[in-house]
Structure formats: structure tokens, C-alpha cells
């Protein structure tokens, strides 16, 4: 008798849980810069993320529950990003956080994630030491500059026949990191460094910097710059008649970048974790649905948002729960087939196994000239 009633109660509560579950969405918080100088790239991450969420929900969600993305603007500023994270955690009760683009902003919310014991996944922030802080809840589904440099330094030195290189980058942790990693790896291969300098975000006139580069006469110029700075810089390099081979890191393999830069983009090389021309079925499908949704080809940041949401959704699916600890454990066991290869995480939360590509812009298209897996070894 007692046992029967207990069973009934259990069945009833299971039903109720099931019914409530079907109606209740799984909330994922996304913090990206939607205003300020990198708003444009932040917007691309959001586009990719929304596409992934839509695909998941079109397939029926996660165990029947829809995935709901709640997007906040962190402006890449540490203080605003922390506010956004607190709001998402306390008000919206999200299960996972994705963000926050700039490494400095991501570093600011890592302790917040730790405090609330909530998994935090970034698809972009590349500063190497983020995964070295022993934060169990932090996962980076992106390459670091060091990994990218290690993957491509040899190919660049050999294929571009570089003997001397000038290094310039945007004056922040990402730009300085890129310059430091590439100059170290290329110098080890015997490539001479002729000049190292930086410019500020939002700079418009690069003539002075380019004058100095022209005077230093390097074979190659390494540039770490985002869309706006990079496109103006390349146009002015062409105006100044700079003949060195230009290669670099940043969101260069994108349609917008090529459109903005015009013919000055022709022939430059970019080391990127993603280009829309990567061969393979997974990527072809991704490019098709992205083009259908936004009428443009995806770039590095669109893919980053797409991958981050898929990695999180698969982890929640595997965990069969929205409990933070279960999701964290499932994230650590990630094995995700992305448009650009296979993502797994090291015990420190650094992704590896996916491919990075070296592209050359030819005829306004990023043409893949070399592919190299990103390995987080040692």
C-alpha cells in the first residue's frame, strides 16, 4: 500500500517534471561586444551563435527542450562584461556562459564563473595564459596565438621564402601576443626581425608606420589587425608602394574584409582558424546555411560563435542535465565535429585537434594554401 502510493507519486512527479521540461527552455548566456570598436566582429559571433541555436531548435532542441540564447553587450570592457555576466547568472539564470571576445574581458568574468560554479566557454579570446589559471569552469574553443604561430611559422618561412620580417600589431593584448609569438617562432627559424611596432585601435593613418617599414626593406610584413584597422592599413600600404609580402592574423579571410580593402587585399596571406573555403562536407553545409541566413559567407568569428554554441549544446545533451557540474564534466569530454575539424579539450580546457589554415586572397576569395592541425601538446 505504502509502496504503491510512493510509486504513484514518483510517476506523477516524473510526468510533471517532463511536462515542465518540455515547456522550459535551456538558457545560455552570450556576452559579446555589440558597441564600441570591435562591435562589428562581436556581431559576427552572435550571428554564428544564433544560427547554431536555430539549427538545434529546428532539430527539436536538446532532449525536447529549446535552446534559448540570451545576448548581452559587454563592449569588450571588463567592468561592463562582469555586469553582463552577473545579470545573466542572477536574473536570467543561464546554465552556461559563452563569451566575452576580448581576452581582458574574458579574464574579468572567469572569477565570476568560478564563484557561481558555472561553465564558461569562449570561442574567441586567444591570450595564452587564460587556460593556465587553473579555472576548472573555463574552456577555450579557440586557437591561441602561440598555437597558430607554431602551426604556421615553418610553412611561412619556407613557402613565402622570408629572410627578414617587420612585425606590426594593434596595441592590445591580442596584437602584442600575436607579434610576440610569431616573431619568436620565425626568429628561431633564422628569419631576421627588422622592426617591431604597434598602433592603437581605431587608428586611421598608417603612413608614418609604413614609411618606416619601407625604409627597413623587409621581405615580409607580419600584421595583427582586425577588420577596420587592417583594411585601412593594407590600402595605405598599397598606396605607399610597399612591395613586401604581407601576412598576418585577424579576421582577414572574410567577405567584408575583402570588400572593404578592395584590390589592395589581393595576394596577402592570413593564418586563420577558419575560412569559408575550407574543404569538406561539414563546412559546405555550414557555409550554405550561413549564407542563407545572412546573405554573406561566414568568417572566423561567425564560425567561432557557431562552434561555441554547438559545443555547449552537445555537452548539455550528453550531461542530460542543466546542472553546472554535470555540464562541466561533459564539456571536458567534448568531441565535436566542426566545419574546421575536430574539437577536443585538454585537461586545462584548451581546445585542440581542429585545423587552422593559411589562406591567400586571390581574386577576392580566400584560397587555402596550407592546412595544419592545432595541437596543444607538450
Amino acid at each position: 500500500m505504502g509502496q504503491k502510493r510512493l510509486l504513484l507519486a514518483a510517476a506523477a512527479s516524473a510526468c510533471m517534471a517532463g511536462a515542465a521540461g518540455a515547456a522550459e527552455p535551456i538558457k545560455v548566456g552570450l556576452i559579446e561586444p555589440l558597441s564600441g570598436s570591435v562591435a562589428y566582429n562581436g556581431q559576427s559571433v552572435v550571428e554564428g551563435a544564433k544560427l547554431a541555436a536555430k539549427e538545434i531548435n529546428d532539430r527539436g532542441g536538446i532532449d525536447g527542450r529549446p535552446l534559448e540564447l540570451i545576448v548581452e553587450d559587454g563592449q569588450c570592457a571588463p567592468a561592463n562584461t562582469v555586469n553582463a555576466a552577473e545579470k545573466l547568472i542572477q536574473n536570467d539564470r543561464v546554465s552556461v556562459l559563452i563569451g566575452a571576445f576580448c581576452s581582458s574581458a574574458t579574464a574579468a568574468i572567469m572569477p565570476v564563473a568560478d564563484k557561481y560554479k558555472l561553465p564558461l566557454v569562449t570561442g574567441v579570446s586567444s591570450k595564452a595564459d587564460l587556460t593556465e589559471q587553473g579555472n576548472r569552469y573555463f574552456f577555450r574553443a579557440a586557437e591561441t596565438d602561440a598555437l597558430l604561430a607554431r602551426a604556421f611559422a615553418k610553412i611561412m618561412a619556407r613557402d613565402l621564402k622570408l629572410k627578414s620580417v617587420a612585425y606590426i600589431g594593434v596595441n592590445d593584448d591580442w596584437g602584442r601576443g600575436g607579434v610576440a609569438e610569431f616573431s619568436r617562432d620565425l626568429t628561431e627559424l633564422g628569419v631576421k626581425s627588422t622592426l617591431v611596432d604597434y598602433f592603437d585601435h581605431g587608428s586611421t593613418d598608417f603612413y608614418t608606420l609604413l614609411t618606416r617599414i619601407r625604409a627597413a626593406e623587409p621581405d615580409g610584413v607580419f600584421v595583427a589587425a582586425e577588420t577596420q584597422d587592417g583594411s585601412i592599413l593594407l590600402k595605405q600600404a598599397k598606396e605607399m608602394g610597399l612591395e613586401a609580402k604581407i601576412f598576418g592574423v585577424g579576421s582577414w579571410a572574410t567577405e567584408d574584409f575583402i570588400k572593404l580593402t578592395g584590390e589592395a587585399a589581393e595576394g596577402i596571406y592570413a593564418a586563420v582558424p577558419y575560412a569559408s573555403t575550407i574543404p569538406g562536407d561539414t563546412n559546405r553545409k555550414f557555409v550554405e546555411s550561413y549564407a542563407k541566413a545572412y546573405r554573406k559567407q561566414p568568417g572566423k568569428y561567425g564560425a567561432a560563435g557557431y562552434n561555441a554554441v554547438n559545443i555547449v549544446a552537445q555537452a548539455i545533451d550528453r550531461a542530460d542535465s542543466t546542472k553546472a557540474e554535470a555540464i562541466r564534466e561533459a564539456l571536458a569530454k567534448t568531441d565535436y565535429e566542426a566545419p574546421n575539424g575536430h574539437y577536443r579539450f585538454t585537461p586545462k580546457g584548451q581546445a585542440y585537434g581542429f585545423s587552422a589554415v593559411l589562406v591567400q586572397l586571390q581574386g577576392a576569395k580566400p584560397v587555402v594554401v596550407a592546412t595544419s592541425p592545432v595541437e596543444a601538446g607538450q
Binding site: 562591435a39 562589428y40 556581431q43 603612413y207 608606420l209 614609411t211 625604409a215 608602394g241 572593404l260
Partner: protein, 290 residues
Amino acid sequence: MNLALQFLANGLVTGAFYALSALGLTLIFGLMRVVNFAHGEFFMLGGVLGWVATAVLGLDFATAFVLVVAAMGVLGWLVDRFMIERVRGHGEESTILLTIGLSIFLANATLYLAGPAPMKVPAPLTGKPLFLGPVVLTKSRLAAVAVSVVLVLGAYLVIHRTRIGRAMRATFQDAMAAKLSGIRTERIFAATFALGTMLAASAGMLLASIYSAQASVGGLVSLKAFVVVILGGMGSFPGAIAGGLILGLSEAFWGGYVSTGTVDIVGFVMVILILLFRPRGLFSLNAQRA
């Protein structure tokens, strides 16, 4: 030596652009005593509307330029009549707060309507770069410098040689006396603000054809314009030109011989020194305010 010549050319070009970007700010401040924090956003709107007129509507550069500047003049007039007029005479704090609010509104409205992507205004002049000895320049840069000179001269002549210019100066010397002698001062305020807005917008569209326009550039433009205006003296036209050239040249030579990564130090150190030792600027006209 060749390097120095190229740095000199770079500095003069950017200096002319700085001067042009600061004109509207110095005009509005010098005559109206309004510190216009929305200046950078007017500049940005000039570039974005220039993009709409040329790249979206397909107009040629000159027609688009005239239309954009006229439209921005109307906007400036409306902003003065419907917003600034309401806080006129309530001290400088209220106009500062008003223009800060306006700048945030304009930047975010543009972000919402036009998106965060950089926009390219097709340059009216293209073609190969010019080599003057060892110095590289482009036609569009030279043309932009020439237009800057024309705009500076034009604005100067309007204020010092025309009836409306005389009415402006009279109004800002003593609004009550000007009103008593039959000047419709509220129109003069609006016209001055409109003129400042038009100067900001023409700089924005001109420079968007050389660099690019983006919804979020306003803050940086305002910052540089304030440096120029403080160097040259609030309200002084020759001061704005000198301030622009000093900033452009010192940035070019600091960037050329020291490092481009630390170039912003130069302008701000100069501002601090000027504020300490010559707070009215290098070329301020004390006589302009009675």
C-alpha cells in the same frame, strides 16, 4: 633625410585633417560657449550619410557632399532650436550633459540603423600614387587637404566678412544688446550651431573617402578635436589650424623616430603642459570675448 621628408608630408596631411576635424568644435565653443560633446558624432554622421548617398543611392561624390552637408546643417539647426535653446542660459553643465546624451543617442541610433560594419565612401579621385622626389602622396589626400583649406577660409570669411557673421559676433559679445538692435538672436544661435555641424559633417565625409566611416568613431574624433582646440585656443580659427598641424607633425615625427605604439602620449602631454602654462591656448584671441 628622405625619411624626414616623408614624415613631414605625413604630418602636414594628418595635421590638416586634424584641423578640419576640429573646426566645428572650436567655432561652436568660441562663439556660443557650448562645449559640444556630440561633435564627433556629427563627424561620424557626415561619413555614414556620405556612404548612404554614394554607395547606397549611387550619387556622385560632389552632389552627395553638398546634400549631406545641407542635411546636417538642417539637423544642427533643429538640434539648437529644439534642444540647446531649452537649456541656454542655464550654465555650461546642462549643455555639456545635453550634448553627451545626444552623442550617445546618435552613436547608438546609427549602430542600430546602419550596423557596426565599417563603411567605405568611394573616393572621388583614384589612380596611382604621386612621387614627389622621395615623398609619396595620393591625389585624394592632396585634394582633401585642398578642400580643408577652402573650408577653413570659407568659414573664416563667413564669420568675418558677411552680415550674418557680424550678427554672430555681435550676438556672442552681448546677446541682450544685439537683440535690442534688432538681431533675431535665436536664429543666430541656430545658424552658428548649424555651421559648426556642417563643418564637422564635411570633415567626416571627406575623411571617410580616405579612411572609412563607422558608427563608433565619434569618441576618438572628439578626443583628438579637443586636443587640437586646447592647443590652439578655444574659439580661434588660426589656432585650430596651428593646433592641428602641431599635433599632426609631432605625431608623425614621434611615430617615425620613436614608436607609433605610444603616439597618443604626445598629444596629451602637450595638452597638460598647455593647460598648466598657457590655459587659453597658444593662439587664443582674448578680445573675442569681452
